[in-house]
């Protein structure tokens, strides 16, 4: 019997290197805590197992499962809202078989798959009826996450659906009108929808020195950490911003600053190059996918991934307000890491299954 293994060594090796770098950065950021690194390594290993397993599955199965997964996502959110423990004022976690995970993560998988499934046979341009139906689904998905509250994830969930809708051929006039309304409504949003702490985050971005020990602290210290790294960095474990606790959230959202401080511009270029190769390979898969469903899934996931990466790094270097969004494959965190492996498992499955499955 001839067993064929599906997979792509470029994507796999990029992710492997990123996760190994991530473990190294984490070891430094956690002041040499083996426990933390070991726990993260376990997630990485589980992730790789899921990643390779999913690659063996024909994309057809993802399409068939899409709606079920979406329904499952909503049920999970309901369970979380009813039974999930409240941690720091937010209900985000659910505990199954002794494993805690963030229930909203499933939307990152189910929503783009469902959108692609729904849109795969629609004629161009997408009709108003379909557009609004999709926006409605995306809206309530994002909303259920947003009320947990978890703004960062809710944004990524919404975008994972919107990018699919856009790639499927959302009419340009609709896009234009929507942006026009957003711009006109922005003062209203600023005055009525944003909470004071969110406004403050945006304002301190432009003038962090106005409150250097309060809301400006993260931006200033992160900028100092990155800037002081120079070309080749201060050396592994030698970042004073990291190790004397000047830098916030070194293991999670701000781990990029740790890397930039200790490995300098060279380190930054290496990391960004790996992300670039990973993205180019994914783009190649998207452009050469076997059908529209596959194209939309891979394209949507790619754009969401790029957005996530851009937001994290821009936040760390002080270009955009502080938003809770991890650095893919590097930040500490089990749920988001596993989700990423699942998403790239789907991408690799689509990329390596060129011919249609026998029906």
């Amino acid at each position: 019997m001839n067993i064929k293994l599906y997979g792509d060594w470029i994507i796999a090796s990029c992710i492997l290197m990123l996760t190994i770098f991530g473990l190294f950065f984490l070891y430094s950021a956690s002041e040499g805590s083996f426990d933390i690194v070991l726990k993260q390594a376990v997630f990485v290993i589980i992730g790789f197992a899921l990643f390779f397993s999913l690659a063996q599955i024909d994309p057809e199965h993802f399409r068939r499962l899409a709606y079920i997964l979406l329904a499952g996502s909503f049920i999970l959110m309901l369970i979380t809202a009813l039974f999930g423990p409240e941690i720091n004022g937010a209900q985000r976690w659910i505990r199954v078989l002794g494993i805690s995970f963030q229930s909203s993560e499933l939307f990152k998988v189910s929503l783009p798959l469902s959108m692609a499934t729904y849109l795969q046979y629609k004629k161009l341009p997408i009709s108003m009826k379909d557009t609004f139906f999709c926006l409605f689904i995306i809206g309530i998905s994002a909303l259920t996450v947003a009320i947990q509250p978890d703004l960062g994830t809710s944004l990524l969930v919404a975008l994972s659906g919107l990018f699919v809708l856009f790639l499927a051929g959302l009419s340009w006039s609709f896009i234009g009108i929507t942006f026009g309304i957003l711009i006109i409504a922005s003062p209203f949003i600023w005055n009525n929808l944003l909470r004071p702490f969110q406004k403050e985050r945006i304002l301190t971005l432009f003038n962090p020195e106005s409150d250097p020990f309060g809301s400006g602290w993260n931006i200033i210290q992160s900028r100092i950490a990155i800037g002081s790294g120079g070309i080749s960095g201060k050396g592994y474990g030698e970042g004073s911003q990291t190790h004397f606790n000047f830098l916030p959230e070194t293991q999670t959202d701000f781990i990029f600053a740790v890397a930039a401080e200790e490995f300098g511009f060279i380190g930054v270029v290496v990391i960004l190059s790996l992300f670039l190769i990973l993205s180019l390979r994914t783009l190649y898969f998207a452009l050469n996918a076997r059908d529209r469903f596959c194209r939309l899934v891979v394209g949507g996931l790619l754009l969401t991934f790029l957005f996530n990466l851009l937001v994290n790094i821009s936040m760390v270097i002080g270009l955009i307000p502080v938003v809770g969004m991890p650095l893919p494959f590097i930040s500490k965190g089990g749920s988001s890491m596993i989700t990423l492996f699942i998403l790239f498992g789907i991408i690799m499955s689509i990329g390596s299954h060129k011919t249609l499955m026998q029906r």
Partner: protein, 606 residues
């Protein structure tokens, strides 16, 4: 879907995916550019910022210079003392620690409470904390044998600023005390770090407050050293990274003379007044003594409230520096200056004699100005007028004077202005002029005012330093170096001109004040083995018409006359000039004179 439509869909997808990807790529290039800007273009600024984040610079005071007299006697120095210093972060249980340490070294409840209050924050930030100050030898020994039980405590060396003669030089030398905010502007050390400055002196960071300690504070202080620690974001100190040694302060070698100052101290014996002596060749101040005095050791190292209050409330004002700031009428001691003016202006000569009936009548309004001797001195020439201190002669001389020329002459001899080159807060005294009087009292200058000035009364006021300088000017025959505390010649001098004959006759006359049979200070003659020239003065505080009236006010000590003498010697080649003022001492010759002689003896007969 039709083939064409599929093709159209695929193209649309590809276009949108590519455009999106390119937009993201452009954004990422922007991000990379920003990182390049931070890490490469502005790297240095951020390195500095990270370094100043990471490090904490603590100033370390250097040992202060010591102060010596002109013979090398130590006047004020640094004395090592020992404190029990603790490192709270290394002490696990405060209660047990205090319990155990108090069995070794007894602790007052007050000390315990203070310590407990500061303990927690010092432990959090890993700073030192002193538990007991100024340990005795026995205390040190009893701690040291048990020190292994107290890993968080050690004996720390802290200096104290100590004078072996704590009351002798108080006003001249001044004292040190806790530094005020103005030293906290040292470059390279942020002002907030000063609270953590490392103490070398027990009272903390010290600076000169008065006198030489204040004037020469910069050179005495030397420069601050620095210790650089690593610090985390919470402000906790970690390891010591680097030490920059400061340079110790320079010693100050002054013109002061221990023996002469002691002579002044002893002969003043607590009476209110001042003694100033000047070394003629250099202008150096050998004695600058104000009485009564106070202990600078107490002021420098902590004084209890009770002692402080008693000093502040003392009606004799021990803190007041009479030598520099006391304003006294020069009285008859000004007569040599008036004589010189009269000679220079051609108003009198050594031969001219007038009759002294014991009073002078102002021709304008018939007002009477009295002399000190009932019945007067009879026929007096200038020498006799100086030796016996005839008021009438000088009333007459002043009456003839032009007030503007007279004040210009006195100005040239140092009256009415601060003279000392390195004294702290010297008073300029007062040399009245018609303009001054008009501005002050809105009244014109009367001839009577000029007449009063002829005997150093009225508005004119001089400080003991001015009187001593004036004496040195007379002693040096017209040119004297401005007073100062240095050992070298001061580079500024005041000079007046008159003929050599005038100078030698003036010296002769002033010598006769002491050495002559009828001189006002003739009783000083036997007190010493060398010859002295002098001029006495008795400053009236209340203007009275008769001896009887004075006898009446005499019951109030504070209304009695001030006793003044200026003197120089040894004659005929004087080396030192001295002034003595004793408040309410009544007689220049009898009360102030012996003090001047004791000081001159100490200076001349080393």
């Amino acid at each position: 879907m039709q083939f064409e439509e599929r093709q159209k869909e695929r193209n649309s997808f590809s276009n949108r995916a590519l455009v999106s990807f390119i937009i993201f790529t452009v954004l990422f290039i922007g991000v990379l550019g920003r990182i390049f800007y931070l890490q490469i273009s502005t790297n240095q600024a951020y390195l500095t910022a990270a370094e100043s984040n990471r490090t904490y610079t603590v100033p370390v005071q250097s040992l202060r210079g010591q102060i010596f007299d002109r013979n090398g006697n130590l006047l004020v120095g640094n004395q090592a003392t020992y404190d029990l210093v603790t490192i709270p972060s290394q002490i696990q249980d405060l209660t047990i620690f205090l319990d155990q340490i108090s069995k070794v070294l007894p602790l007052s409840d007050n000390a315990k409470q203070n310590y407990e209050k500061l303990f927690k924050s010092k432990a959090t930030f890993n700073r030192e904390l002193v538990l007991i100050k100024d340990l005795t030898d026995e205390q040190i020994a009893s701690f040291q044998v048990r020190s292994f039980r107290f890993p968080g405590a050690f004996i720390g060396k802290r200096y104290r600023r100590i004078s072996q003669f704590p009351e002798l030089f108080s006003h001249a030398v001044g004292y040190t005390s806790r530094a005020s905010a103005n030293i906290l502007n040292l470059p390279g050390i942020p002002s907030r770090n000063w609270k953590d400055a490392e103490y070398i002196y027990a009272p903390g960071l010290i600076e000169g407050q008065l006198g030489l300690e204040k004037i020469y504070n910069d050179s005495l202080s030397g420069s601050y050293g620095k210790k650089i620690f690593e610090i985390d974001a919470k402000g906790k100190l970690h390891n010591l990274v680097k030490v920059f040694q400061g340079s110790p302060g320079e010693d100050l070698h002054t013109s002061l003379d221990l023996a002469a100052q002691q002579a002044a101290h002893q002969s003043m014996n607590g009476k209110r007044g001042a003694v100033v002596a000047i070394h003629l060749p250099t202008g150096g101040l050998n004695v600058a003594y104000s009485s009564p005095t106070f202990s600078i050791n107490e002021f420098a190292n902590g004084i209890d409230q009770e002692s402080f209050d008693s000093i502040i409330q003392d009606i004799n004002k021990p803190l007041f520096n009479r030598a520099l700031k006391g304003r006294y009428p020069p009285a008859s001691s000004i007569k040599p200056a008036i004589a010189l003016y009269g000679l220079n202006a051609g108003l009198t000569s050594w031969d001219r004699a007038i009759n002294d009936p014991g009073f002078f009548v102002l021709p304008e309004d018939g007002r009477i100005y009295r002399g000190w001797r009932e019945g007067g001195h009879g026929a007096v020439n200038l020498t006799k007028a100086l030796v016996q201190s005839s008021n009438t002669y000088f009333f007459d001389l002043a009456y003839q004077s032009d007030i503007n020329q007279l004040t210009a002459h006195l100005d040239g001899m140092g009256f009415g202005k601060a003279l000392c080159l390195d004294c702290f807060d010297e008073d300029p005294g007062l040399l009245p002029t018609p303009g001054w009087k008009y501005a002050q009292y809105n009244r014109g200058w009367f001839t009577g005012d000029t007449v009063n000035m002829g005997v150093g009364q009225g508005y004119i006021l001089a400080t003991p330093v001015q009187l001593a300088f004036y004496a040195s000017l007379l002693a040096n025959k017209g040119a004297a170096r401005l007073p100062h505390f240095g050992q070298n010649e001061s580079d500024q001098l005041l000079a007046i001109k008159t003929s050599d004959i005038n100078w030698s006759k003036l010296h002769k006359a002033l010598e006769l004040v002491v050495e002559g049979p009828s001189g006002t200070a003739r009783r000083l003659s036997e007190l010493k083995s060398f010859k002295v020239a002098a001029k006495t003065g008795t400053a009236e505080l209340v203007s009275l018409d008769s001896k009887e009236a004075y006898a009446e006010i005499r019951s109030d000590v504070l209304q009695r006359d001030h006793a003044i003498i200026i003197a120089f010697g040894p004659m005929p080649n004087p080396e030192y000039a001295v002034s003595v003022v004793i408040e309410n001492g009544e007689s220049g010759g009898l009360v102030a004179g012996p003090v001047a002689i004791e000081v001159l003896k100490a200076l001349i007969q080393k």
